[in-house]
């Protein structure tokens, strides 16, 4: 299966700008389907970006975040050619990881 994560990181020498798009239903648990039955909650709980073994961005998410979330942030440091690791864990225990080279 194709990765659920798209990530792009670009460094300007001083800071690294990161953009990521994640494919996930992010069901809040408050919505009913066409039959009137509640769609069980299914959302990403922790999203982590790691650089050089250390987390540079950690998000604790809940059902309030939109479907297929998009994240953009910048952190100090980060060298061109280095790896940036992205991973998420959702409330059902599913997980996915992707690695991007900083450009």
């Amino acid at each position: 299966m194709a990765s659920s994560i798209r990530v792009r990181a670009t460094s300007n020498g001083d800071t690294t700008e990161v953009q990521a798009l994640i494919q996930h239903p992010m069901d809040s648990g408050f919505v009913k389907d066409a039959k009137g039955e509640i769609i069980p909650p299914h959302f990403i709980q922790v999203l982590t970006f790691e650089y050089d073994g250390k987390p540079v961005f950690v998000a604790d998410w809940g059902g309030g975040v939109s479907k297929d979330p998009y994240v953009k942030f910048a952190f100090k440091g980060g060298k061109k050619g280095d790896d940036l690791k992205v991973s998420w864990v959702d409330n059902k225990g599913a997980t996915d990881t992707a690695t991007a080279k900083i450009q």
Partner: protein, 269 residues
């Protein structure tokens, strides 16, 4: 008076080329700052802030997952070993701008969505829903391979083709629904203005961006989805996707955008 000689009257007055010129001139004079190809970006062409949002969005477009899924589906063979490429000219690559076309054997307009489902059925596969998901992914990929190519809809010298065109035009300008809106009420009279929080898109180039990812839908939608939701938003009863009326409408609306580049798959607020 219409009932006296409808055929003769239609033949006297239907002039698609003149319609197209007038249609495009209307928009270019209403928005003199815009270039013709800008109109394919819908609401994003209407407003500077939205335009900036769109440029940022295009760096990481929300239709990307769908596009990728479509590419994979397109190259995956059916159970009988054939592929979508076998159903289309040029193996289905870079042909979006020629759809919908008038099929002279059948005497009707054939849209890309319809052709895709016919291709599936001819190869023993179940048809897809016309409005979203798989159909949107497939058309997204096909549109992507045609990006930048000018819309090139032909109206053959056939009275039935002219009739289909004319019916599509009539559908576009006919008021319906509880709100008594026609397609033109929003997309000719009021592009650039707001309807609640949305900025209305110009009718010119509106189909060039199909299928679209709409944040409001939090997903992809095809031309069929756009037509049916437009009809329900004006509190009318939508037709079934790919009914003759919708196919004629798509034929008319695509023809008057001839020359504008394909920009699909698109993203909309």
């Amino acid at each position: 008076m219409l009932t006296l000689a409808p055929a003769a009257r239609a033949a006297d007055t239907v002039d698609p080329a003149a319609d197209k010129a007038a249609f495009q001139k209307f928009f270019t004079s209403k928005f003199p700052k815009l270039k013709l190809e800008d109109f394919v970006n819908g609401p994003y062409s209407m407003n500077e802030d939205l335009h900036k949002q769109w440029q940022e969005k295009e760096e990481f477009p929300p239709y990307e997952f769908s596009l990728e899924a479509g590419k994979e589906m397109f190259s995956t063979p059916f159970k009988n070993g054939k592929t979508y490429a076998d159903c289309f000219p040029n193996k289905g690559i870079g042909i979006r701008q020629n759809y919908p076309y008038f099929d002279e054997k059948e005497g009707k307009v054939v849209t890309l969505e319809l052709a895709l489902n016919r291709c599936r059925e001819a190869n023993g596969e179940a048809p897809f829903s016309y409005v979203k998901d798989d159909m949107a992914a497939l058309t997204a990929y096909m549109a992507f391979t045609s990006r930048g190519k000018p819309m090139d809809i032909k109206i053959p010298n056939d009275p039935r083709a002219l009739e289909a065109y004319q019916k599509g035009k009539e559908y576009f300008y006919t008021r319906r629904g509880q709100l008594n809106f026609s397609c033109a009420t929003c997309h000719i009279q009021s592009p650039g203005e707001r309807i609640r929080a949305e900025v209305l898109a110009p009718a010119l180039g509106i189909l060039n961006a199909m299928p679209i990812y709409r944040s409001e839908w939090s997903g992809m939608g095809t031309t069929s989805r756009r037509f049916t939701t437009c009809n329900s938003q004006i509190r009318g009863v939508p037709l079934n996707p790919q009914d003759d009326e919708y196919r004629n409408l798509e034929y008319y609306l695509s023809y008057v955008s001839n020359g504008l580049p394909i920009s699909g798959p698109g993203a909309r607020p």
